[in-house]
Symmetry: C2
Subunit: 479 residues, 2 copies
């Protein structure tokens, strides 16, 4: 009897696990959860579910302490995460050597979305989830966000709702890949990004609603609605171009170049092989070593009663927070959070090259990246970190993305990073259609790539950093 | 003016940088360096260039010492490599928790072959190179093996011959990727594997000869001739099937299944997407943490005057060696080496599945692997490590690969690992054509893959471990 033999899919031609995802304008609303109903439900959830987050001295943290010996900030259980010190030495961008606090959380968690077809249209089971660090407490979150301790039930504790869809051996996987998190704040952290399709009835829960991908895209373009975990999962979906009419017909030229960029059948400035060789060259050309060291030993940071802060006021602070739900739900706890000192910017420059949209990708070194650097947006930084530096030490294109020319913004929203670890860590996420204003030339650490090339790379771990993935997800709202 | 726009190559359809490499029987000899001339030259080099390697007490090492404080074995310059301690905790294969010595060498070196066409046939510039740990001192090595310190000239010192072909910005790259080294002995080590094509005259050097890939394949099938660095570079070449007649017509059925397995146009048991999802699942399913610790603190190993050895006589020893060239060349130095306690085995089971050759790949955890596990041969171990364990704790298929059925061995040679770090570290490398004797079924940590799928994955870093890559290179000798 012949074995089941799916014809091998060409990795670049059809990344992913075989289901076709089409960016479809027709599914920007849904009879299952009409937009009006969703908006009312989501507003209700936001009103009803608020955390009061108050800064407290580290000494008021319950269950957390600066450990004897190395001064690392740890939980008594040895679980969750810890804050340790890191020293980096690199010749990358003249950054030399520095020390910093960094989060260490070696577990692999699950970020997962359950999807199901209703009347032939794929819907995602989305959650109105509270996180203490979110600018607005409730954001639109995946079906499941679970640490390994959560889903293996090591600690006892309440079972994560719907986790069984992801741990079942019978699951139908549409996406399953390990992806990195913020390299500036996390030491080699990654999570498992999953999409699981079901056909059976799924028991309803008031904090969850079924939305089409088009409906998620609708709110992804709004400030601080769709959380980071949703964005990173959606970035792993190998979308195909829409067939039908599109929402944004403002720039048919942009749309056409985006359609071509998605397909992989049109030209690209570089072949896939050349892009991989470029990344090899980048890693081999630079020196980069790091070592963890006791948090008590890091230079350049001051440790007061209630924060660990950079001596020049740059980067971020480690703070302690008391978190209380101001609703009927009984919930109170304390925890450390990372609080960046200001709003950042993460922006891709985009332009058609021979009619195919390309994005300018930056191979960016980050302290905690799994392997020294990943592919980042053209610009990704906190501007304050560079204000006192001469122009040649500033990120390239910084002025251009902070003050884009009129009519060039294809995407512009303030989106925040993981609210469970980061406090008001939001960024201007932007996609800027620079057209001929920026030459289609590469530079040592910058290369122009098509959307299809990025979608192919994100099928593997550790190519696109989390900010680039947020923008890749956001790009699909720009039709 | 339109920009240069090579049509994007489908990553799976045409891995690599665009040149077509064909396994060609016609090039098993060459007018540039006929086999008879090569054999005579190589035998002469082996006779004339010998190291006497004598074990010495650690206290007789010059320039090396056990460092105050952590007891790590380090060089006074802080360069080369160091031996540190490592603790691993994992649920993988019931291995639990252990400590071991491990080599730490964070630099990225270059392993590179210069290639050039003579009369339309690609030739590789190969070196007769001495390494102290080689079972026979001289092995057939790439054009260049250089550490970063070598090629950046940090230490002054003699320039590596031909290094300029790899560091030139004008180089024509055919292969360029970062690949891992032995995860059991090295902590996250990788090297840059490169092939550079030249068209100009290359100045000759008596230690170097031009050989076709077919000629290298001829000697790769012999014991201990082709060194590990050559094998790992050749494993990155996306070979196409031969058109013409082939050497080994003994099994036309095997040959046909191998031709189909190379092409990527025939079926495979799994899609590329499913293989990546499987690897995600393997990594997420297992727990695996490690930390470096002082060499003086590792349990289970005994430290005597002249070796650090495992208490049960398993695994390997760290030894100290005095190395002297017994020829006119003046060379003498001392260095630590890793010496495995016996000869190992590294073997792929292979079988046709619906007429397409598949290899049974093992997702194997190794202490120093970059990300907990890589894809390994079906069996890869020192048998002594398992002799006292019950069968269910032994590697699957161990008996089968130690004592293969008659007529099933498609490749069988003793090949050694890097002789600059490892002393007589050789393995039975085997490819065993098991046919219907082994069912075409997967298991949690084992999956059947085509040769084309392996060649596609090896275009990226950190998928295939170095033993699997040696076998992938060796597979191309089995026509």
């Amino acid at each position: 009897m012949p074995l089941p033999m799916p014809e091998a899919l060409a990795a670049a031609g059809s990344p992913g696990l075989g289901r076709r995802f089409t960016v479809s304008a027709s599914a920007t609303d849904s009879p299952v959860t009409p937009n009006a109903e969703f908006d009312a439900w989501f507003a209700r959830k936001r009103r009803a579910n608020r955390f009061n987050v108050a800064r407290i001295p580290f000494s008021d943290l319950a269950g957390w302490r600066f450990r004897e010996g190395d001064g690392n900030l740890v939980h008594d259980s040895g679980k969750f995460f810890s804050v340790t010190g890191l020293e980096v030495n690199t010749d990358w961008q003249d950054r030399g050597s520095w020390m910093q606090p960094i989060l260490d959380q070696p577990e692999i968690g699950i970020l997962g979305i359950v999807v199901k077809e209703f009347d032939g249209v794929l819907h995602c089971l989305m959650q109105a989830k509270m996180e203490p660090g979110n600018p607005e407490t409730v954001q639109l979150s995946p079906t499941v966000q679970a640490t390994r301790s959560n889903y293996t039930g090591v600690h006892g504790g309440r079972r994560t709702t719907y986790i069984e869809y992801f741990t079942s051996s019978e699951r139908t996987l549409l996406v399953d890949s390990l992806q990195s998190e913020q390299g500036a704040w996390f030491l080699q952290k990654r999570n498992r990004n999953m999409i699981v399709e079901v056909t059976d009835d799924v028991p309803p829960h008031d904090n969850f609603r079924w939305l089409t991908i088009g409906q998620i895209h609708r709110v992804l373009a709004q400030d601080n609605v769709v959380n980071m975990d949703t964005r990173t999962i959606l970035s792993c979906v190998p979308f195909e171009a829409p067939n039908g009419p599109v929402r944004n017909a403002a720039s048919p030229e942009y749309r056409e170049s985006l359609v071509r960029s998605l397909s992989g059948r049109h030209g690209s400035l570089h072949t896939a092989g050349h892009l991989l060789a470029w990344l090899t060259d980048v890693k081999a050309r630079h020196s980069f070593t790091r070592r963890t060291l006791p948090l008590s030993k890091i230079d350049g940071w001051s440790h007061s009663d209630d924060e660990i802060a950079h001596d020049e006021g740059k980067h971020f602070k480690v703070i302690a927070a008391d978190v209380r739900a101001d609703t009927r739900e009984v919930a109170q706890w304390t925890q450390p959070l990372i609080a960046p000192v200001e709003r950042g910017v993460a922006a891709f420059l985009a332009r058609p090259i021979n009619g195919v949209l390309h994005l300018l990708v930056h191979a960016k070194a980050e302290a905690g990246a799994f392997d020294m650097c990943e592919l980042a947006p053209t610009v990704q930084c906190l501007p304050v970190n560079f204000r006192d530096l001469p122009v040649h030490r500033q990120p390239r294109y910084l002025d251009l993305v902070l003050d884009p020319a009129p009519g060039t913004l294809r995407f512009d929203a303030v989106l925040s990073e993981e609210g469970g670890r980061f406090h008001h860590a939001d960024n201007h996420y932007r996609i800027i259609d620079v057209g001929e204003d920026v030459p289609a030339q590469d530079d040592e650490d910058y290369h122009w790539m098509t959307v299809h090339q990025l979608m192919s790379l994100v099928q593997h771990s550790r190519y696109l950093n989390v900010q680039a993935r947020s923008l890749l997800a956001s790009l699909h709202t720009t039709w």
